[in-house]
Symmetry: C2
Subunit: 717 residues, 2 copies
């Protein structure tokens, strides 16, 4: 019956939607620029009456146009664009090189560096003005977006003295987009890149993509999947890449491509792809030169090699460094090579957790200067929670860049509300002890700890052709958070969430506070209803949609959920202590010792590092492990219900279309959280052989039912 009622409600909604009050499909992301309320209008309008740009460049025009568009919207009045200050309220933008006006002000732009900016309130030619100045055009663009954000979040703008610069050099999206427009692990429709119709058809959406990224400071985009296709390196496809690069360039976004390591064979007709073969090196050199002739600011290559069946230098008895350096030489000082550390070999029975350290640490210091090794946040694969990757802090001579996954492959796709800012903050603030206490992962990747010459952060994009870009409104927050944290890894998840909510919905505390709270709790809810207490990789096979803890028949042991939870009559968990795989030894002390002992292991990672008996006493609660698992799984479902309640109370603050889409997603999440809980407990109960504690409802259906479900067309696979 609830289904019937819901259906009826949807029909009513469908009818209501015919005459929309203020329908909003989410396309504008956080760049909405709707008028500010009356309480800010007068003060803002007094400070902003015109945008002043003295000399033009494509990037400075983008900055000016964004300011004119944004300020005109926010102030609900036309804001003029002029080339000199004519009245009070001027917003003067430029660099000392492009603007005599800016040059005359003699601002100290040291802090702004290459990509940062300074925003100052002051007097220009006798008028009250705001100056947005930088050493480079793109710094001005970033400053313009910062200034807009101040108004969007209703900050005072009358006494500004801001200086900002990004903490990381490379802030790049990784699109796992295929040439047929499917997106690996994509839950937001097709790839934005319409390769077939490029370069002839240039979708205006590409410009909006660039605007959104520039507003966060993202300065690079890898267009193609790490499971790469050499075809993109063909001349015909490079013309298509060029068309995208031309759109992105004014926004400070450089284009990168994934390099299929065997391309010299597949595209070049050679018999080998051995990186030490001179013909191979020459092929890459010529191909790279061709790319740079087409795209002079090409960023470089991202490579997944010798991992999950991809070709690589080890196919020829060479090392990752041999492969990376050959490509790095081809690129030269024009760009970089980002070489992924997500490797596990088809033949190696070692705990996958350990393989990256085993393979890469011996190579430390042997990579070219323009190589970065790109490391996932954890050693397994973007699980709802993982301890930080042991590579962080163990390669002082090699720039390690962070790879986060924005798309929610393992956290409920696009329907589950899970704000990832908390996960990323947790990882970035984790202490590696690489140089004693206080050596956080953020200190590693921003180069502070090891004085890296180049730094970066990559995010696997959650962007697709869906009208709302990310598959859901709240998934936009993860794109936003990635960009902001790549600019400033210590910004903090809560501050970022609040920024996003204020821009995306409203700064009214009646909505902002409960929504931020909901976001801050949301990722823990997923951990609870999918993989509590350090469990991991229990998702169904292939598409990773829904629970599959019972799967144990896949070709390789480490593909199987049973390998990771290892449940038996005695207990559950993966023994990574010195009595087990000894992955703990890859961490610096005191972590290696602490995590070797369940008593000193954080409960969040208990079953990540330990196989423990069902009757093991969980310290924080005093419950048995089995009991605690039931409590956590159930708590996860409860948290989603609480999110539903929170959201239901906010209807009057949100336009109907976005309100309803979030409500619908939360209802799906509620049902799927219950499914996860019930299926997981029904399965683990067959080992634990214990009843559910009193007060906890048994699974709604039989284990056989859950095992019978199949989803051949789940997206992203």
């Amino acid at each position: 019956m609830p289904s019937l009622l819901r259906r009826a409600a949807l029909v009513l909604l469908a009818l209501a939607a015919v005459v929309p009050a203020q329908a909003d499909d989410g396309y504008r992301l956080w760049l909405r620029y709707d008028p500010v309320g009356a309480e800010h209008l007068a003060t803002y309008r007094a400070r902003v009456t015109q945008v002043v740009l003295e000399r033009e460049s494509p990037t400075l025009l983008a900055a000016r146009d964004e300011l004119v568009r944004g300020l005109s919207g926010l102030l609900d009045t036309g804001v003029a664009s002029v080339d000199r200050v004519t009245q009070s309220g001027a917003v003067v933008i430029g660099t000392p090189r492009s603007s005599d006006l800016i040059a005359r002000l003699g601002l100290d732009l040291t802090e702004a560096g290459e990509e940062g900016y300074v925003i100052r309130s002051g007097q220009v030619d006798g008028h009250e003005a705001t100056i947005v100045a930088a050493n480079t055009d793109v710094g001005v663009l970033y400053g313009a977006f910062h200034f807009l954000r101040l108004l969007q979040t209703r900050q005072p703008i009358d006494r500004l003295a801001i200086a900002e610069a990004p903490a990381l050099d490379l802030r790049v999206l990784n699109h796992w987009d295929n040439l047929d427009r499917t997106v690996e692990r994509g839950y937001a429709g097709q790839s934005l890149w319409d390769w077939h119709r490029l370069p002839g058809l240039v979708d205006p959406r590409y410009t909006d993509y660039a605007r959104a990224n520039a507003s966060l400071g993202i300065n690079g985009t890898v267009l193609t999947n790490v499971n790469a296709n050499a075809l993109v390196l063909s001349t015909r496809y490079l013309e298509k890449v060029e068309a995208l690069a031309d759109v992105f360039r004014p926004y400070g976004i450089r284009v990168y491509l994934t390099a299929r390591f065997s391309a010299p064979i597949e595209a070049g007709g050679l018999e080998t792809a051995d990186p030490l073969d001179p013909e191979v090196a020459a092929w890459w050199q010529a191909k790279t030169d061709e790319i740079y002739e087409t795209i002079p600011d090409f960023g470089g290559f991202l490579v997944k090699a010798n991992s999950e069946g991809q070709p690589g230098p080890q196919d020829y008895g060479r090392t990752h460094a041999d492969g990376a350096n050959m490509l790095a030489d081809a690129v030269g000082d024009r760009g970089v090579v980002m070489w992924r550390a997500f490797v596990y070999s088809a033949e190696d029975a070692t705990d996958r957790h350990k393989q990256a350290v085993n393979e890469f640490v011996p190579l430390d210091g042997t990579f070219r200067d323009n190589v970065l090794v790109q490391v996932k946040n954890g050693a397994i694969d973007f699980q709802p929670r993982e301890p930080f990757h042991p590579l962080f802090g163990t390669m002082p001579e090699t720039p390690l860049m962070m790879e986060f996954q924005i798309t929610k492959e393992y956290l409920g796709f696009a329907t589950h509300l899970a704000y990832l800012g908390t996960m990323w903050e947790e990882v970035l603030s984790a202490d590696t002890y690489a140089d004693g206490p206080g050596s956080t992962v953020a200190d590693v990747i921003d180069g502070d700890l090891h004085d890296y010459p180049i730094t970066g952060m990559a995010g696997v994009a959650n962007i697709g052709s869906d009208r709302n870009w990310s598959g859901s409104i709240f998934d936009q927050a993860n794109w936003y958070a990635f960009g902001r944290m790549a600019w400033s890894p210590r910004l903090g998840a809560e501050a970022v969430a609040a920024e996003w909510v204020a821009q995306t919905f409203t700064d009214d505390p009646a909505l902002l506070e409960p929504v931020v709270e909901m976001m801050m709790d949301s990722r823990q809810a997923v951990v609870d209803y999918m993989t509590p207490l350090g469990l991991h990789h229990l998702m169904a096979t292939g598409h990773h949609y829904g629970p599959g803890p019972w799967v144990g028949d896949l070709g390789r042991p480490e593909w199987n959920p049973t390998y990771y939870h290892n449940a038996d009559a005695e207990g559950i968990g993966f023994d990574r202590t010195d009595a087990g795989s000894d992955a703990v030894s890859q961490y610096h002390e005191p972590l290696a010792t602490q995590w070797n002992d369940p008593a000193t292991t954080p409960e969040a990672f208990l079953l990540w590092f330990h196989h423990l008996p069902w009757d093991y006493t969980v310290a924080s609660s005093g419950r048995t492990l089995w009991h605690e698992l039931v409590v956590r799984y159930s708590r996860g479902v409860d948290r989603v219900e609480a999110m539903q309640e929170t959201w239901a109370g906010l209807e009057s603050y949100v336009d109907p279309e976005r309100f309803e889409s979030v409500s619908q997603n939360l209802a799906i999440q509620r049902d799927e959280a219950q499914w996860w809980r019930d299926a997981s407990l029904a399965y683990f109960q067959t080992f634990a052989d214990r009843p559910l504690p009193e007060g906890y409802a048994p699974p709604e259906r039989s284990l056989a039912y859950y095992q019978s479900l199949s989803f051949p067309y789940a997206p992203g696979n």
Copy 2:
């Protein structure tokens, strides 16, 4: 250099797009409802001040809401919705059953029938009013859209006396949409149906889809591909179908599904799908009953059987009638079975042109009353031009419904501008001579000729997730034309084009006239540059993108372009005379005799029916066949250039976003027309062994170059 210039222009455009004047992405289709000009505003406003609906139903509410939305937009003022006439300018809508007011007027609604309507200017309760009345709620909805169309096309609305009813009963879209959201022969993004997130997530776009269809009178939609998947019949998927049906129902749109003939085996666990097996019939009966319990107004099944590898009754030695009738019995009087006549068997060496007649004519009169046989417009496969299908006029005892292909599988995908209204008019007005002269195809399908108890027209949809629905602005015209011609098959392509242009762009003759002219010429341009003089099926293999006349190595003869053009040193063309495959004999006299002789065969079909020497004299021009081919191929390219010129002159009448997207597509079409011409002539020249006539440029590249091109990711395959 032109490429560089174009690229630079695009960048400028991208920048310009940042501050859009009046950007329009085409989402609103022909339902734009922008304010009418000053010259109409006063008169329209005087006649329209309120919408009056006495008693509500979901469909009447949809009608009222559309009127309120549309009229408020067109008149640029709020048009009130009330439940009785309170002032002059009332638009009174309803049925005699739902409205005492309407009943009291005593209108003659005979002509309106079950789905039609009457629109009258008159007095109601002493006030000037317009009455939109019908016998059914959906008739009112259609009348509401008609009334809106009058204003959208700037017709007078002060003395209306309109009565309309559709000529055909079933006006249905066929979506060749797969459950993984790919669309076979789809060039507009993904399937609209987000199966994975249904029924939980109901995209508001589904409502706009229903609105657009209802505005044309389309009353059914087959959601799934004719190459069917039994999974859609599972209970889990039927819940998803139900959610869509619930959205569509108020708009008078019934949902249909494709039935995979082997579903009893795949989904039911039976060992056979033999239609005469009682267990098979019982399975379909139970499944159909389950569907009707979920979706009470389910339309029925569409079946592709024993064609291109699909399972069917012939697998069990049964006939198409055996299969169709078994399903028809399961459906009963609740719906229909649409059984496709597009059959060609893997074993039959007969000219494919003849197989449908051979298989179906003997079954005439043996189908159940609720079966329609769905026949493509031509006997091959949706070529740019085909003679009408010989089945039309040869099955007097079996309702034949028309199958048109709206999506342009063989006419340049979504980038080429090709208005299909002219093609459809050509087919519908073709004389079958089934009952002497004047027995047109339209007379067959609308039942006039053979007194069919039920009639219909199907269109293979060109709709997808692209923001503009159809992949390009001008492809929207084909959706529009299909709907309008399904309602009224004798409407005429030019009238429909003018309607569409007026609603989509402007009724200003400065744009309307040249654009209609361009549309009317556009399909002939495609015929010329792809397959002139009756050539057919020369497209590249699989995806059908670009020319592939040289392909001759495919598994079955009739898959190969070489089979169809049959070029050799002597000449070119498919001999379908009595000396050849004798397909001509399947047509009524005098066509059979006329088309048996090249001298009396229309030149448009010359090489369709005849293999002729390269020196054959083409009557209309006196040129040799080779010369005429060169002229026609070249003329096709010239026509596209003329379209580019026409469009370039219209910039001031169109918003920049749509103007530019059409311009970009025309540039692609120009390049691809040249490619078609050059590749085809380079290839045919190897047989003709003659130079190009003076004044005609040789192909730009070598034949080897054209043959080397491959497009592994062309869409729609």
